[in-house]
């Protein structure tokens, strides 16, 4: 199971030696992680370790300064978030990336609107978008907000549900969730966890960023630990413990 040859064909996404700086801040210093097909991969680390920056590189928001991203064995470069989506990568950003002034259904479809008409006379297919958003959302949220309400009016948990439903609903091959349950109540957290399991059953590879070790150990197959812009350790979830993960995050224990 752990021979390098079989691991390679199992790998759906691999990021190698990714660096990214913002001015003088070196957010990523050569981080490398891999995700396996059909698995939930967790990414953990202290605040500022570089998790979200890595996520933003994988979802096409940031262009890495150096390093390669390999998807299904092919090297890819995402110039825009759309490019990442076209390669089947959906992301729930930590900041949720919702436009507060727009409605729920508009947020669902920004950047990939459904249109009707022909040639230059394309108009938004509002009805289709509304009903799609409604059905995707009702799978997830406990307290389903009407899809015609502005995001500004939603509670924090409802917003998170919108962002998650938006990412999970497209039949993509990889779903990245940056702290998806951070603002959620008990019921909603359980729902999100069941969504993650459902995605896994469908063969979707999930990258889960979370500070909740119980959740990580419960849901994930594999854990990557980041510290100071590097992925410093990896473990099979079944072969590690919360204590060991804490030690790896703080650096008390070497990889």
């Amino acid at each position: 199971m752990n021979t390098t040859a079989s691991v390679d064909t199992d790998v759906i996404l691999s990021a190698q030696n990714i660096t990214k700086s913002f001015g003088g801040v070196h957010a990523l210093r050569g981080a490398s992680i891999t995700m396996r097909r059909g698995e939930v991969t967790a990414l953990i680390g202290d605040n500022g370790a570089g998790k979200s920056t890595l996520v933003r590189c994988l979802s096409g928001i940031h262009r890495p300064d150096s390093g390669t991203i390999t998807l299904d064995g092919k090297v890819v470069e995402f110039g825009t978030p759309l490019a990442a989506r076209e390669h089947g990568i959906e992301t729930v950003q930590q900041n949720l990336a919702l436009v507060e002034e727009l409605t729920v259904w508009q947020n669902f479809f920004i950047g990939r609107e459904k249109t009707k008409g022909f040639g230059p006379f394309q108009m938004l297919d509002r009805k289709a978008m509304r009903s799609t958003a409604e059905s995707l959302l009702s799978d997830l949220a406990v307290n389903v907000p009407p899809v015609t309400s502005r995001v500004r009016r939603l509670s924090g948990g409802q917003r998170q549900a919108v962002a998650i439903a938006r990412a999970a609903g497209w039949g993509s091959s990889i779903v990245i969730m940056d702290e998806p349950t951070a603002a959620l109540g008990v019921q909603e957290t359980a729902r999100v966890e069941s969504i993650i399991r459902k995605l896994q059953d469908q063969g979707v590879a999930v990258l889960l960023i979370s500070h909740n070790f119980d959740q990580v150990l419960r849901l994930s197959d594999h854990v990557w630990v980041m510290r100071g812009g590097l992925a410093v350790a990896e473990r099979r979830s079944s072969e590690t413990s919360g204590d060991e993960l804490v030690a790896l995050i703080t650096g008390a224990k070497a990889a």
């Binding site: 759309l82 950003q93 900041n95 990336a97 507060e100 002034e101 920004i110 950047g111 938004l124 509002r126």
Partner: protein, 331 residues
């Protein structure tokens, strides 16, 4: 443990909160509908004070007079929805008018001159877009710069003298009408309808609102924010070019004169229309009504024989009042 809880529940000050709530409700109602309410109020007041205000002839004149401002307000509304502002809009219109005059003088016909007018205005929009979207210059500074550039160019090209134009096509544009609605206002209404459709029924319009609401979120969802910004400044300038034709037709000449009142009024109309200058919430009908309101205000004051000097004051008061009211809009 239950008793104190209950008492705090009962202790809601019934007398203080309810009327306040009702007032807030009505205030937000006023804020949302400032333009139509203001327009109706003005019409009623002026109709009482001046018998000619609602005469067919005066309505006709008002609609023609409103056309340019309506077009500029729609143009400005696109820019302001992205959170930007186009201070050059009226200077761009002047440059378009001068472009028309020069082309006309050089012997080109109406249509070619009209295209040249729109294109020369478009150049300013292109520069605005490049400065703001690509050069990341603050919209305020960039369009203040192009305001000056466009004004200067218009003066240079004409040596500061108006180019008078006698064209039957232009004459038909000002005098032609369907019933009491003159061609200029029909053109303005068409701009309004198309503008509304583009803003609320197309992908591009949604992107304009998204960029204004949160550029970061829009970009994370694959919206090309700098292309959207380029586009709105270009649209604004092209519409200013279209308005310049109405301006030339109205005056019968291409004047290089600076026209700040159109700039201020275009922004005022948008504010009256309930659009927040921070962007994200689009409105098209509101700004159009705002433009009508401002036109009716100036017209009514003129009819009542109020000195020209008081008109900017009146416009200013109305706009400040509207701006105050927008604070009470529902979020």
């Amino acid at each position: 443990m239950n008793l104190p809880l209950q008492t705090t529940n009962i202790a809601v000050p019934e007398k203080g909160i309810r009327p306040l709530l009702r007032e807030a409700k009505s205030l937000s109602f006023w804020a949302e509908n400032a333009a139509p309410i203001g327009l109706i109020a003005l019409v009623i007041v002026f109709a009482i004070l001046s018998p000619t205000f609602l005469s067919i002839g005066n309505i006709r004149a008002m609609l023609v007079a409103a056309a340019i401002l309506v077009i500029l307000a729609v143009a400005q509304s696109f820019v302001i929805t992205t959170g930007g502002i186009d201070l050059s809009i009226s200077a761009t219109m002047t440059l378009g008018a001068v472009g028309f005059g020069i082309a006309w003088q050089a012997g080109f016909g109406f249509w070619i001159s009209a295209i040249i007018a729109i294109l020369s205005a478009g150049v300013i929009g292109l520069i605005n877009g490049l400065l703001i979207a690509k050069g990341k210059v603050t919209d305020f500074i960039a369009t203040l710069g192009t305001l000056s550039v466009a004004t200067g160019l218009a003066l240079i090209v004409t040596s500061g003298k108006p180019v008078s134009i006698t064209s039957p096509d232009l004459l038909r544009l000002t005098t032609g009408s369907v019933w009491i609605v003159g061609y200029p206002f029909i053109i303005a209404l068409l701009v309004g309808v198309v503008g509304w459709f583009v803003m609320f029924r197309t992908r591009f319009g949604l992107h304009v609102q998204a960029v204004g609401g949160s550029e970061e979120a829009a970009v994370a969802n694959g919206v090309n924010a700098s292309r959207v910004r380029m586009a709105v400044y270009l649209i604004a300038a092209l519409l200013a070019g279209l308005a310049s034709l109405l301006l030339v037709a109205r005056i019968g000449a291409a004047e290089p004169a600076i026209n700040t009142s159109y700039l201020l009024n275009s922004i005022a109309a948008v504010v009256l229309g309930g659009v927040s200058l921070t962007g994200g919430r689009a409105k098209i009908v509101g700004p159009i009504l705002g433009a009508l309101l401002l036109t009716a205000l100036t017209n009514g004051l003129t009819l009542l024989g109020v000195s020209q000097f008081y008109q900017p004051l009146a416009v200013g008061l109305v706009v400040v009042l509207a701006a105050l009211l927008t604070r009470f809009q529902k979020k």
